[in-house]
Amino acid sequence: MFVARSIAADHKDLIHDVSFDFHGRRMATCSSDQSVKVRAEPGSKRDLARPATHSGSVWRVTWAHPEFGQVLASCSFDRTAAVWEEIVGESNDKLRGQSHWVKRTTLVDSRTSVTDVKFAPKHMGLMLATCSADGIVRIYEAPDVMNLSQWSLQHEISCKLSCSCISWNPSSSRAHAPMIAVGSDDSSPNAMAKVQIFEYNENTRKYAKAETLLTVTDPVHDIAFAPNLGRSFHILAIATKDVRIFTLKPVRKELTSSGGPTKFEIHIVAQFDNHNSQVWRVSWNITGTVLASSGDDGCVRLWKANYMDNWKCTGILKGNGSPVNGSSQQGNSNPSVGSNIPSLQNSLNGSSAGR
């Protein structure tokens, strides 16, 4: 891996989250300076869009699927989550072609800091979920995608513990009902259910608890379902005192049974404590083949399974405080077809072996 370029983020305080849009062309950042900013290719007209603001530190920012247009959601310490839409300047406007972001709605139901916000998979329509320190997961829907100021609260799921993170199951297969996983960072000793999985039930039209991962007893900071490459089972990554990867295989329901949520066979397929400290974030790449995790050790680690399904760490990103060189190439810029190990070319030239 190598650093292709570095862009000044233009925030006045600590950045809490960065997010790439669906096509990897635009970047959203949110910060303790209470703003959300969107960047594109430096120098392009859509860069430096006027920022969007909350009245407290903004913890997370996320993009909706481009089928719904250019839409962002953010959540903040100010107890709200917000939905933003990009407006392109009218052609008779002096801002012609330039875009700015308009806050379409503010979701004010939470009584405490909103810790995470995530859009549901696109096949569910324009829907998002938030979770708060008050232990409630709220699911909102915009019935008319052309009118983003109308959102209705569809579900409130009580998790009983302060929530820190949520993840929708991205699988769009008809065989899987909508599912959402919730993580809690509650540190009180009585708090047992740090990871809960809720499933939507077509009959009751409600979300019901399907599973609790009882083996996870430490505070959970992040959680992520992997994209589904046609598997019949689900993969869930958890950031807690270490990195854990679970598989959830739906247990075949009897044909006569109805109603209840799916039961799952839960297995842990990997557990890594290489960070040697709290793990704060986990996230899957778009094909679900590589997991990245970020820990208190200041590193980002990449985990991959080979064709035998054995997981290993294949890369580490870390900083040594060296100065940023503007937007030029940095890091391991050894273009090669390519060798990480320079000795491959040395041994060919015969410069080491045998001389």
């Binding site: 891996m1 190598f2 650093v3 292709a4 370029r5 570095s6 233009d10 305080d13 600590l14 950045i15 809490h16 989250d17 960065v18 997010s19 096509h23 990897g24 062309r25 303790s32 089928e67 247009g69 250019q70 490459l229 046609g230 709290q278 996230s283 778009i286 094909t287 970020s294 820990g295 208190d296 200041g298 980002v300 990449l302 991959k304 064709y307 990103l317 870390k318 900083g319 040594n320 405080g321 060296s322 100065p323 940023v324 060189n325 890091g331 391991n332 050894n334 090669s336 077809v337 390519g338 060798s339 990480n340 320079p342 491959l344 070319q345 041994s347 060919l348 015969g350 072996a353 045998g354």
Partner: protein, 611 residues
């Protein structure tokens, strides 16, 4: 059996202090975003002095190299050709074809190497020149490995010719061998040796060759024993070399560039009819003797050793570790799979491994703005996971131009990836609507077969017409054809436009019928009826009678329908009263016009023709 046994590679991010801070990140389709942050929110956030940076990280640097692009393009052609090789071909002809494919791959590598070499030489003092040089070295190593694999695994050289192939291999990659043989030949009795160097073709059997060699070898030994060369230590040493004496060979180590050169030389002089299965014994001992305990084997050595041991899996595994780009292992594994070697070597996950490697390689291609098209073909030839992998990647390709969008859509349509077509068209339609390009939005909705969105866009068109009195994108609406049927609103839009055309062409009777049918067939939305009735006014006011009595009755009925349905609101405000006034006036004008037309049409229909 993992190919990631090596230490994980470290990438340094500038401007981040991992001692004090942490990093937040996000994945993109081809890149990763990373930024310094602090996760422990309980600490009071210190105001950051400087401006924090976000860094964009890429995995596959090679994809962005202009010269390697040719390698990727050409090898793609060879790959696709290989997949199409007739399955029926067996035995010798198949083998010959596979060898040809292997040689094609190698010539592509060499061509790339030569081009890079030009750049390296032209720029030799700069950092870029050095980069090119190192690229050349790596490609050279890659070709060396591939060549050996071709000899051992694909050509499957049997005992006898095996050494010939290995000689060629060494000669091709290590230039010094020529000078060594010249040295050896120079001072010896050429006749004795020419008969040896004239290795037979297909005319002699292995046994005959062995006998001849044995005879010659014994003669040499006799000369040594008899002290024929005792007077000349140089000649004596040479004789020992010819006898394959290891110590003597090692004395001239400086003429041998590496252990595999040493190996082939040893074999030449001591075991010219070496069998493939015995190769690894000599290989291991050659490596050990050559290194002499002073240095340890390098990655390239391990790869070659694995090849000599016929351990295909180990070769692939070691290459995966040593090379950061999947190009080499993916193509080589695919070729070996076609030689049916992965199964025969008891790699039950063989086909899995092939797909795994090919898809890893293809993933890297999708990140590139034009090489993604190559990636599609690689996915196509992975029966298990190719399709779903393609589905995930293709939606993420940024559709920066209409041309690119059409290319991507064609790829999806050719493969019946209907959901992806729908999604991509929807994204484009939405983008068009938000930029007020209604014609574009409509055509994408039609391509997506998205009735709901087509309705939405048609509504916008109609609203535009009401506001501005004219249509935009007339060409599109006029040529909708059968696509008009996608949604009722779209059909109405098309027909309404047709009405205007007919009116413009003065086909008043047709226009009139069409207008009426739009209301009676319920295709026109209620909200539009007033506009339609108002459109009827000029037709009612014409000198000749256009609407028949029957049609006029229909129109009246529609008008009544419309007016009776109006609810009485509570407290009408001034504006509403004014609007109501306008409405009432319109209705009255219509009623008058319709009544007059009714009268005229009754008279006309009641009269005799011509009067």
């Amino acid at each position: 059996m993992e190919e990631f046994d090596g230490e994980p590679t470290v990438t340094w991010i500038p401007g981040v202090n991992s001692q004090k801070k942490q990093m937040c990140f996000d994945w993109g389709p081809g890149e990763m975003l990373v930024c310094e942050t602090s996760f422990n929110k309980k600490e009071k956030s210190e105001m950051v002095a400087g401006c924090p940076f976000i860094h964009i990280i890429r995995k596959d640097i090679d994809v962005y190299s202009k010269i390697l692009r040719k390698l990727f393009n050409e090898s793609h052609g060879i790959f696709v050709g290989l997949q199409r090789i007739e399955e029926e071909l067996t035995g010798k002809s198949r083998k010959a074809q596979l060898v040809r494919v292997s040689k094609n791959y190698r010539s592509v590598i060499r061509a790339c190497m030569e081009e890079m070499h030009q750049f390296a030489v032209a720029d030799k003092d700069s950092a870029i020149g050095r980069q090119f040089s190192s690229q050349v070295s790596i490609l050279s190593a890659v070709e060396l490995i591939w060549n050996l694999c071709e000899i051992l695994f694909i050509e499957v050289a049997p005992a006898g010719p095996l050494l010939l192939y290995l000689l060629d291999w060494v000669r091709l990659h290590v230039c010094e061998v020529d000078s060594l043989s010249a040295d050896v030949l120079g001072s010896e009795n050429p006749s004795k040796h020419e008969s040896f160097w004239n290795l037979p073709g297909n005319t002699q059997t292995l046994t005959e060759l062995e006998l001849r060699w044995q005879h010659w070898h014994e003669e040499c030994e006799r000369h040594l024993q008899d002290g024929t060369f005792a007077s000349n230590p140089h000649l004596e040493s040479l004789c020992k070399v010819l006898l394959g004496d290891d110590a003597a060979l090692l004395e001239h180590k400086e003429l041998l560039s590496n252990w595999y050169h040493f190996l082939v030389t040893r074999l030449l002089y001591s075991q010219p009819t070496v069998k493939p299965m015995d190769l690894h014994l000599y290989a291991q001992s050659s490596l050990d003797l050559f290194l002499g305990g002073e240095s340890s084997p390098e990655p390239l050595d391990n790869i070659l050793m694995a090849a000599f041991e016929f351990d295909i899996h180990q070769v692939i595994k070691e290459c995966s570790i040593a090379l950061s780009n999947w190009w080499f292992v993916a193509h080589l594994t695919d070729l070996l799979d076609h030689c049916k070697l992965l199964q025969s070597h008891n790699l039950y996950f063989g086909s899995n491994m092939r797909e795994f490697l090919l898809l890893e390689y293809a993933s890297g291609l999708f990140a590139h703005h034009s090489l993604w098209q190559l990636g599609v073909d690689y996915c196509d030839h992975c029966p298990e996971l190719g399709r779903v992998s393609l589905e995930l990647h293709i939606e993420r390709i940024p559709l920066t131009t209409e041309q690119k969008a059409l290319k991507v859509l064609r790829v999806c349509e050719q493969r019946q990836m209907t959901e992806q077509v729908r999604s991509i068209c929807k994204v484009l339609a939405m983008k068009a609507v938000r930029n007020n390009r209604l014609g574009s939005a409509l055509s994408w909705s039609i391509r997506a077969k998205d009735a709901a969105f087509a309705t939405l866009v048609s509504d916008r068109f109609l609203r535009d017409y009401c506001e501005r009195g004219c249509f935009s994108d007339l060409d599109l609406i006029d040529n909708l054809g059968p696509a008009m049927m996608l949604s009722d609103r779209l059909t109405f839009l098309g027909k309404y436009r047709e009405f205007h055309r007919l009116y413009g062409e003065k086909c008043f009777v047709d226009a009139a019928s069409l207008l009426l049918s739009l209301m009676t067939s319920q295709i026109a939305p209620r909200s539009f009826w007033m506009t339609l009735l108002t459109d009827a006014l000029p037709l009612l006011e014409q000198k000749q009678v256009i609407f028949s009595a029957e049609q006029t009755y229909e129109l009246l009925r529609c008008l009544e329908d419309l007016t009776s349905g109006r609810p009485l609101c509570g407290e009408p405000d001034a504006q509403q009263l004014q609007d109501d006034d306008i409405e009432t006036t319109k209705v009255e004008i219509l009623r008058l016009a319709l009544a007059r037309n009714l009268a005229r049409s009754i008279i006309k229909e009641g009269s005799l023709e011509g009067s």
